[in-house]
């Protein structure tokens, strides 16, 4: 029973991490390696707003999501727009920005373990025999709600359809008058906001540390690859597969194999079926 409950919680947290990365790659084909940095910087911005400036918690969160979104768009507008399409330069450029943000934060004094965010709700309740604390439940609920909202957004609103159109075939979308750069910038901003949402939900469980930036990047790549690069629905389901796999390895094999499982998932998926579960890569394109 507890495997079910905590498996879902672990999977939703993985999904939250991976969603932003999948959204950005899905629309603008840009692998955003600065995703982990956006996750961490949102945590620290919320912390400064809440502790240093003393804004109420909810306003601090909303403001920091806004800052994150703006940061994402700025990053695209001034840096990534010039390297779009050149595969390796995109990865290096976005990774370099991520590195600059993370190490800049570390230099700015955000070190040690004293940076934390308060939990939404204290205490825990029992689900059957399994005690679960409120914050994790709230995270799970919000996570699933977020995916539903995203689904509705991409399928039924104008911007959503435009974004999806661009995801399928950029040139065709361009012909129909969709400004692909604007859309890509929006997508990057949106991905950053998603990273921020993941941060505000997951970080209160522990403390805000710069290293979690690298950890989140690896996990979101794992989730997006297994789910199929480009399809964020795939990423959501892949998060459940990896999440449960991790929990099962902890229970049955031994907790120190936990990290090995996630990385193994990536390597196996890429070798067997590079396009992942829901990937739409054309057969010849990704396999020679």
């Amino acid at each position: 029973m507890e495997i079910l409950v905590y498996g879902t919680i672990n999977s939703v947290s993985l999904a939250l991490m991976g969603l932003g990365f999948a959204m950005v790659y899905g629309i603008s084909r840009v692998p955003n390696f600065a995703h982990g940095a956006l996750y961490v910087i949102c945590g620290f911005v919320t912390w400064t707003l809440f502790h240093k400036i003393g804004l109420p918690y909810v306003i601090a969160i909303i403001l920091s999501l806004g800052v994150n979104g703006a940061l994402g768009m700025l990053m695209y507008r001034f840096v990534l727009i010039r390297v779009r399409g050149m595969n390796i330069s995109e990865i290096i450029a976005s990774y370099a920005i991520g590195l600059a943000i993370l190490e800049g934060l570390r230099f700015g004094g955000f070190r040690g373990m004293t940076y934390t965010l308060p939990v939404f709700m204290e205490g825990s309740i029992m689900i059957g025999p399994v005690p679960v604390d409120f914050h994790r439940l709230i995270m799970m609920v919000i996570g699933i709600l977020l995916v539903a909202v995203l689904w509705v957004f991409t399928h039924h609103t104008r911007i959503g359809l435009a974004l999806q159109g661009m995801a399928q075939d950029e040139r065709a979308a361009l012909m129909l008058g969709i400004d692909s750069d604007l859309m890509a910038m929006l997508a990057m901003g949106f991905g950053a906001v998603l990273a921020g949402v993941a941060a505000t939900l997951i970080l209160p469980l522990g403390n805000i540390v710069v290293e979690s930036g690298y950890h989140v990047l690896i996990m979101s790549i794992a989730v997006c690859i297994v789910g199929g690069l480009g399809s964020w629905m795939g990423a959501f389901f892949a998060a459940f597969i990896i999440g449960y796999a991790q929990i099962l390895t902890v229970v049955f094999i031994g907790s120190h194999f936990q990290m090995v499982v996630a990385i193994l998932a990536i390597i196996l998926t890429l070798i067997l079926k590079p396009s992942g579960l829901f990937g739409q890569q054309k057969e010849l394109e990704e396999r020679v």
Binding site: Y6, R106, M113, T114, T116, H215, I247, S255
Partner: protein
């Protein structure tokens, strides 16, 4: 091509020459202490502060008299980044070499903080024949065992703070009196997947088993794990009463917060728990770190009156840096500088071999007890009573303050149980 290459190489060399020509000529030639520390981390910056505090005090008191001449200490700190995941240990070794070769350090204090880096630095130190006193973060018993095994090759390295094996001894003592006091017999061990923690967890399981404790489980977590729920549930289902934690990664705060929220009826007893050693721990867990116990390896890091010198150091540290001594590295680094000064004055020269023999006969009543080195393994001799050896100390967080609960000779309070444990 011709112009570009010339211009690039020239500017590179000029820049390098400039850097090194800046001499520093004043009174006596200073003795340079090199400190390769991971200053972005607790074990790094607290050691740095300990060393600088000691150096300022010694220089203020006139410096070190090397057979007549009074020479001041000078500290050169370099960031080794070795506690950061994803950073190769060769970075730390390069930092140590930079200290020895280009900064001309005479002695290395503080040492690389990660056990792997410290072990790797052993061969480097023997190659350059430089004495190094490790003061923060290196807990692996392999360190002093390697020195003992190949004494003449690695005799240049010393360690002035306790290591995993002594910690276990102290732990077992506490478990025994917890057993008498509250009847806690079931121990659940959680260790980080780092060789010294993993080794210590195995030894702990064996020793606890032999002492009549039931080891209900032992989980090893890779560095960077962020989900401990399954382990905590296992603790609850097996009815364990003590959680012995060997973790110095920041994610341990997640574990403690979840332990508090889920009201798990077991006492978190940290052997190495970097998160809990800091004064800021209380704020970090918004008070949920209540009742957590953690071992700060040597006494000076928490307010106690092990020796007259302890409180003097404690207040001097708080005055200079505006914060109480934090990690396990502050008092040991402070003492390392004094022990070094004492050895140099006894040896009368900076020559490594003579200073080594002087260090081996060290007998200084320090911040955390009487400091003597085991001549064979250069490991500081630990003891339970400050009068006859270096004393470790275990503290418990009781409503916002760190109270030393062990050893009895310097304890300020006794171990309390969380409310949801007391009733059963």
């Amino acid at each position: 091509m011709k112009h570009i290459k010339l211009r690039v190489c020239l500017s590179l060399f000029v820049f390098m020459f400039l850097l090194f020509s800046g001499g520093h000529a004043f009174a006596e030639k200073p003795i340079i202490i090199g400190a390769p520390l991971s200053i972005a981390y607790l074990y790094g910056w607290d050691a740095e502060r300990g060393i600088k505090l000691a150096v300022d005090e010694i220089n203020a008191a006139g410096g070190v008299n090397v057979n007549g001449k009074k020479r001041p200490f000078k500290v050169e700190v370099i960031d080794t980044r070795d506690l950061e995941p994803g950073v190769p240990v060769s970075e730390a070794l390069m930092a140590v070499e930079r200290l020895i070769l280009s900064k001309k350090a005479d002695f290395i204090v503080g040492g690389p903080n990660r056990s792997e880096a410290a072990l790797a630095a052993l061969s480097l130190l023997s190659k350059h024949k430089k004495i190094s006193i490790v003061t923060s973060g290196v807990l692996t018993p392999a360190y002093h065992k390697t020195i003992a095994k190949e004494y003449d090759k690695f005799k240049y390295a010393f360690r002035i703070h306790g290591e995993a094996v002594t910690l276990i001894g102290e732990m077992i003592e506490n478990f025994v009196d917890l057993k008498e006091k509250y009847g806690l017999t079931k121990v659940f061990i959680m260790a980080q997947d780092v060789s010294h923690a993993r080794g210590a967890a195995k030894v702990m399981a064996k020793v606890a088993g032999s002492k009549g404790f039931e080891v209900t489980g032992s989980e090893i977590f890779p560095t960077g794990t962020s989900d401990f729920s399954m382990a905590l549930l296992k603790v609850k289902s097996t009815g364990s009463q003590i959680i012995n934690i060997w973790m110095d990664m920041p994610e341990s705060a997640i574990l403690l917060k979840q332990w508090y929220d889920l009201k798990i009826p077991a006492l978190p007893f940290g052997s190495t728990l970097a998160a809990a050693e800091q004064p800021g721990f209380w704020k970090a867990t918004d008070g949920k770190g209540e009742y957590t116990l953690c071992n700060v390896v040597n006494a000076g890091n928490a307010p106690s009156d092990a020796t007259p010198w302890t409180m003097k150091f404690y207040n001097a540290y708080a005055k200079k840096w505006g914060v109480e001594p934090e990690g396990l590295g502050s008092s040991s680094s402070y003492m390392a500088v004094y022990v070094l000064k004492d050895a140099i004055e006894k040896a009368g020269t900076l020559d490594s071999d003579k200073v080594i023999t002087a260090l081996e006969q060290t007998d200084v009543m320090g911040v955390y007890g009487r400091l003597r080195f085991d001549p064979k393994s250069h490991q500081v001799i630990a003891a339970k009573d400050p009068k006859d050896g270096a004393v470790g100390s275990i503290l418990q967080w009781q409503d916002g303050k760190r109270i030393v609960v062990y050893p009895k000779s310097i304890a300020k309070g006794s171990i309390l149980l969380p409310p949801w444990m007391v009733k059963n």
